[in-house]
């Protein structure tokens, strides 16, 4: 639809009563679904990392002290009887994971065992952009990509019988500021959605 058409239709909508509602801008919060599905679309189009904070973060990643523009932390359990095989698989395939993920703009930041908690592991992924999340999700979902194949092999070691043993969270560099905690918004409780911000008033 062309902008001129939009304008004429909007004027008609205004005359029909839409003008009675005050102008309103609402922020749409990306919604992260369970099972690793990401409900985020068409994002890199807005320019990707920009502004002083974004440049600082990009520099931090380049210098190696930040893990990513966004970090996905995946906590999972591997049954103790599979632990040795899992460790061997990691030794063999972590270089592959690093190389294959990098092609999608994702940094594989390693898999770590939680000291003192037998069977408990964390994998960290660093995303360079929202676009990287999409590309990575697409690559993972496809059965015929080397990355998808590797991740499915890795998942075979993960004990999914108890959902309490599987958890994901998205971490953002605190220096990113607003994208992490918009001014005036209280932090959402664990597992709760952040309150919507209307931008009014």
């Amino acid at each position: 639809m062309k902008a001129e058409n939009d304008l004429e239709r909007l004027k008609a909508r205004m005359r029909a009563g839409a003008a009675l509602a005050a102008p309103e801008v609402r922020e749409i919060r990306p919604e992260i679904r369970s099972a690793g599905l990401w409900h985020i679309t068409d994002t890199a189009a807005a320019g990707g990392p920009a502004g002083p904070a974004g440049q600082d973060i990009a520099k931090g990643i380049e210098e190696g002290f930040l893990l990513g523009m966004m970090v996905r932390e995946v906590r999972f359990r591997v049954a103790p009887e599979k632990a040795d095989a899992f460790h061997a698989w990691l030794r063999r395939h972590e270089p592959d994971l690093r190389t294959l993920a990098a092609r999608e703009g994702v940094l594989y930041r390693g898999t770590y065992g939680a000291f003192g908690r037998l069977g408990s592991y964390v994998t960290l992924w660093g995303y360079s952009s929202f676009e990287a999340i999409q590309k990575f999700s697409i690559a993972v979902a496809r059965l015929d990509t080397p990355l998808g194949e590797r991740l499915r092999e890795m998942q075979d070691y993960v004990d999914l019988r108890d959902p309490a043993h599987y958890e994901e969270q998205l971490l953002l560099p605190a220096a990113a500021g607003r994208s992490l905690s918009p001014a005036g918004d209280p932090a959402p409780a664990p597992g709760k959605r952040a309150p919507r911000r209307t931008g009014r008033g």
Binding site: D6, P23, T43, A46, G54, L172, A176, G177
Partner: protein, 100 residues
């Protein structure tokens, strides 16, 4: 004085829902995704036309009166422009500044 759209905005009209989704660069580096109702969207479209403030005020008044009366329209325009400026979707530009 006139108002122009901030750079790097992407507008995705959703006329079925009387709204427009806008992708805007965020302060923290990542993009922001915003949903504008029809009223805010109208303001954005009028500003996109690049009118001077007086012409914008007149075009807006023609669009919303009725159902609003003239006083309510003036107040609504000021509030709407302030909202869009606060959200970083519009920039104020003086007449002597070059066209973008």
């Amino acid at each position: 004085m006139r108002y122009i759209l901030a750079p790097n905005l992407r507008l995705r009209p959703v006329p079925e829902l009387d709204s427009c989704v806008v992708l805007a660069p965020g302060e923290g580096g990542g993009p922001r995704l915003l949903r504008l109702n029809a009223h805010a969207w109208l303001l954005l479209e009028l500003c996109r036309a690049g009118m001077m403030a007086t012409a914008l005020r007149e075009a807006y008044r023609e669009a919303v009166v009725p159902p609003l009366d003239a006083a309510a329209a003036a107040e609504s325009l000021d509030q709407g422009l302030a909202l869009l400026l606060r959200q970083g979707l519009l920039l104020e530009k003086n007449p002597e500044e070059a066209m973008p």
